[in-house]
């Protein structure tokens, strides 16, 4: 229980935003084939893989997976391993047939997880003793932590494919993603260079630098991030001053706070001092899906497409 002291609150909040940015998620709908069917690859079990949390050994193909990561849930379904997932954490709301439960990924409880008698647990972050508790219960667990590059995403999809016996689908998924990213990059072409953007995490102007995963993904298009000026200020998630945003006058305002904070182009236009910004006047305010933006799953390519389209729409006016 924390005392309601502002200093403590401030630090908590800073930590919270960092965690929020990598682990956040809430509710969503969209398209991507939901998983099903039996494994296509003749995988050899027992199997040992090198994961972020060390060597993980599986005696047999997992058929009772508990996913404690919304991103992992999306990946598992995308590679056809959805049928093997028996439970997913409370934020795993995509795809629609994911077996969402009340399990909390923020405060994971090993006993509650064990209740589903899993033969594999996938998690993205271990805020305490999740791994050691699962070790004691002899439940194999694999960590797929927040990605920092698109390559991390591909590696995680391939690794989940390997352990679930869906290597072929995983490889196909990765190459589909790669070609989608490449096609957006090609479409945008040189229009991306010289286009500046402000990426908004919440309505108090927390943003991301290019050092973060989403910053790196947008960097693929050659865009320039106005928050990079504040790199020294924090670990990739600085809170920007309104004055600075107005002065920087970015070509694009990317709202990753449409769900958390109910922001949209109309509300942005009404903010004090924002009405004359180029992005506001030229339709450069892009309403993203918070969940897609904060995960590092297969839908990241769709988000890139959405931003790519906006860059192209802006291109004539931004020279």
């Amino acid at each position: 229980m924390h005392r309601f002291r502002p200093l403590r609150g401030s630090l908590l909040a800073v930590a919270f935003f960092a965690a929020f940015a990598v682990a956040c998620a809430s509710s969503s709908t969209s398209t991507v084939s939901a998983g099903g069917g039996t494994p296509t690859t003749a995988a050899a079990y027992p199997m040992t893989v090198d994961a972020a949390n060390g060597k993980v050994t599986l005696v047999a193909m997992p058929t009772h997976i508990v996913s404690m990561s919304p991103t992992a849930t999306e990946m598992l379904f995308a590679i056809g391993a959805g049928d093997q997932v028996v439970a997913a954490d409370s934020y795993s709301d995509y795809p629609a047939d994911a077996p969402t439960t009340k399990l909390s990924a923020y405060e994971p409880n090993a006993e509650a997880i064990a209740n589903y008698q899993p033969d594999l647990v996938v998690y993205a972050s271990d805020p305490g003793d999740l791994q050691s508790s699962l070790d004691k219960l002899k439940i194999p667990a694999i960590s797929e932590p927040a990605a920092t590059t698109l390559d991390d995403v591909y590696t995680q999809i391939e690794q989940l494919g390997e352990v679930t016996g869906h290597s072929d689908e995983a490889a196909a998924q990765v190459s589909a993603l790669e070609s989608k990213v490449q096609s957006v990059v090609d479409e945008v072409g040189d229009a991306g260079k010289g286009t500046t953007y402000y990426y908004e995490l919440d309505d108090t102007y927390y943003s991301v630098t290019s050092d973060t995963f989403i910053g790196a993904v947008l960097g693929e298009l050659g865009l320039k991030n106005i928050a990079d000026q504040a790199k020294g200020a924090s670990s990739g998630y600085p809170q920007l001053s309104a004055e600075y945003i107005v002065q920087a006058d970015p070509d694009l305002i990317l709202l990753a706070d449409t769900k958390c904070c109910g922001q949209d182009a109309e509300k942005v236009a009404k903010r004090p001092g924002w009405s004359d910004l180029s992005a506001v006047k030229n339709g450069g305010v892009v309403e993203l899906d918070d969940d897609v933006a904060s995960r590092w799953g297969p839908r990241i390519a769709d988000l890139l497409q959405q931003v790519g389209d906006a860059v192209q729409a802006q291109a004539p006016s931004s020279g």
């Binding site: 229980m1 924390h2 005392r3 309601f4 002291r5 502002p6 200093l7 609150g9 401030s10 630090l11 908590l12 909040a13 800073v14 919270f16 935003f17 929020f20 809430s26 923020y106 919440d202 309505d203 108090t204 102007y205 000026q229 504040a230 020294g232 200020a233 924090s234 600085p238 809170q239 920007l240 001053s241 309104a242 004055e243 600075y244 107005v246 002065q247 920087a248 006058d249 958390c260 904070c261 903010r271 004090p272 001092g273 004359d276």
Partner: protein, 355 residues
């Protein structure tokens, strides 16, 4: 500040005896002048400093109706910087004057909006409103913060004023700590039960000075002005109350009624500040003490000076919050604590612990 002029006319006739009423009056005038100048300087610095460099001459020119500012610079100064400076001033004044009032009314040097549970109450009220999803309704947030603030102080006071508790200032302190812990626990519980709103609650606690505009200024101004006016008008009362209940009663004060007026006004100021700026610690505790120690003045003068110096202090803290890591922002609560605590230690040393 608009009430500053009232202070200059302060008459010390009828108060407890002084070595020299004329000398005291001169001292009051001198400190009021220093307070006004400090506040003016703080406002000027606040207007000139920011994440974006804008020529001070340009700003002065713009204020005089001409000038060479671009449209963008005008928007930054007029719609972002000016309201933010004014709001910081209002919040600083509100927190300081309420701290001063609580300290006098409860005769406790440690009394401040945090210790007495009023800030925790305001936080709980605001959290409930956010969780219920009605935070956007007009006045819902300030009203809930006000009720929470009043409830917090009321509980602490009720706890401490039972016969068994002995009605001492120590029991008030203990009551306040217990109430603050309880309300914070409730607030945490409500917040954890609604993790989807966690972000909104944190954003609220951290304050919205960084995203504020004229809307917030107009929201806070009437309540802060009202509370300041009531407390300024009650400054003789505060001095009497600070003597102790028996002494106050012997001087003809209606102790319970007078204290209630002061506490309600102080809670109103706290709630208005919390509603627009979140929870900003240290200001309510240190500003009145610093003023008291630096000036050696009685509560009568400290009320007004707390308004002036509290406003100046928070404006300057906010300048640091928006320039130190520019173009990033620092939470202002970090600044008030980092600057406030050592500054307080300095004042404490220099005054030789006279209080």
């Amino acid at each position: 500040m608009k009430h500053a002029s009232r202070l200059e006319g302060t008459h010390l006739v009828g108060g407890p005896s002084r070595p020299s009423a004329a000398r005291a009056r001169r001292r009051a005038a001198r400190w009021t002048l220093i307070g006004l100048v400090t506040l003016f300087v703080a406002v000027v610095i606040g207007l000139f400093a920011g994440a974006v460099r804008i020529s001070p001459l340009g700003i002065i020119g713009w204020m005089l109706g001409g000038g060479s500012l671009t449209e963008q610079q005008k928007a930054i100064v007029a719609e972002l910087r000016l309201p933010r400076v004014l709001l910081a001033g209002l919040v600083g004044a509100a927190l300081s004057v309420s701290g001063c009032a609580y300290q006098a009314a409860f005769r406790n040097p440690l009394a401040d909006p945090y210790l007495l549970g009023s800030a925790a109450g305001a936080g709980l009220g605001a959290t409930i409103v956010i969780v219920l999803g009605v935070a956007d309704a007009p006045l819902a947030l300030p009203a809930a913060a006000f009720l929470g603030a009043l409830g917090g102080v009321g509980l602490a006071y009720a706890m401490a004023s039972t016969k068994a508790a002995g009605r001492t200032s120590t029991s008030l302190l203990l009551g306040g700590v217990a109430v603050a812990s309880f309300l914070t626990a409730l607030q945490t519980y409500v917040q954890q039960r609604n993790t989807d709103d966690l972000r909104a609650v944190y954003a609220f606690i951290l304050g919205r000075l960084g995203t504020s505009g004229w809307h917030e200024v107009w929201l806070a101004l009437p309540w802060v002005a009202l509370a300041c006016a009531v407390l300024l008008a009650s400054r003789r009362l505060l001095e009497v109350l600070s003597l102790g209940d028996l002494e106050a009663a012997s001087l003809g004060a209606h102790v319970a009624r007078d204290r209630a007026i002061v506490v309600i006004a102080a809670s109103l100021a706290t709630a208005a500040a919390v509603a627009v700026a979140g929870l900003i610690g240290f200001v309510g505790l240190i500003v009145p003490h610093a003023v008291r120690m630096a000036t050696g003045a009685s509560n009568r003068l400290v009320v007004g000076l707390s308004i002036l110096f509290g406003a100046a202090f928070l404006i300057l803290c906010d300048v640091l919050a928006r320039t130190v890591v520019a173009p990033g922002e620092l939470p202002i609560g970090v600044i008030t604590a980092l600057i406030g605590a050592p500054f307080f230690a300095l004042v404490l040393r220099r005054s030789g612990g006279a209080r």
